[in-house]
Symmetry: C2
Subunit: 151 residues, 2 copies
Amino acid sequence: MQISPLEEYGLRCLIQVVRCQGDRNPVTIRRISEGEGLSMAYVGKLLFQLQKAGLVQGTRGVQGGYKIAKDPQVLTVGEIFRALNSLDEVCDKYTGDFESCVHAGTCGIKPMWDKLAQQMYGFLDKITLAEVAGPRLAAAAAEATRQDVPA
Amino acid sequence: MQISPLEEYGLRCLIQVVRCQGDRNPVTIRRISEGEGLSMAYVGKLLFQLQKAGLVQGTRGVQGGYKIAKDPQVLTVGEIFRALNSLDEVCDKYTGDFESCVHAGTCGIKPMWDKLAQQMYGFLDKITLAEVAGPRLAAAAAEATRQDVPA
DNA sequence: CCAATCCTTTACTTTTAAGTCAAGTATATA
DNA sequence: TATATACTTGACTTAAAAGTAAAGGATTGG
């Protein structure tokens, strides 16, 4: 029960994407890689996965890069987590030496895990990417609404 | 952000220990191993770790085994989790290619992780081992108060 | 249409956590 | 006090996740 690398770095990459919203071009893997101190290969992999989940949109070629595909004021950290995690159930995952869990049917702890997940996502689904992207966002958003007038 | 094997199986072993409270002898690794479908080696390792955390007390030799070391009506799932996890902070753990995190000092997401942990443990610290050990506990507790009169 | 940029995709290596093995120590009972 | 039981402990192996490498496919601009 702790934040995984995927969750931490995936969120951080998304924040970078959001903060570059106002820029003339979409933000590149290279730029994010430099900004976060991660390898380009790794950032590429993360963003590709986030694209498959529809959170981000990549365009190839010169002046390509990634841009956000959902409104950051609506997109929540909870949704981002779900995009990054395989959501396999404990009951199928922790079966010991057997095919299926010994406690299937009479399990006292599954309801607790479910409530815990509810609690967690109840919390994370209330935090938007915009909020966590922090103070720089307001400025970036303002830039963006200027219709990208070239300097 | 999901239940780890340590957490799932550790809790399940503890539940077994609690449920055997009323028995004449402390419960053995063998017995738990059979009950949960886990190897004896693994159960041994789990319980040993829980003993180091003071949640359980093992006695060696014939008629030895494990018994609970804290009142199950007071011991919470939160405390059990803390006993099973290394509690290293994300800031020290996810530093990318650098020695320390690029965002140290100006990090917008750390406060969120902290609040999330608060939420989680706020929930888990309210659930006692007795509660999650379930219906069989009442019977076991009754047995235990009979002062272990030999059959 | 050539070359540079930049994302896409799959295969591979490394690291970390999970889970096993085996030798050791303590205890109870005959 | 010998023996079987049962926890203890550290080293080892395996499996899963993290992270890397490299070749391929689009796109822009000259």
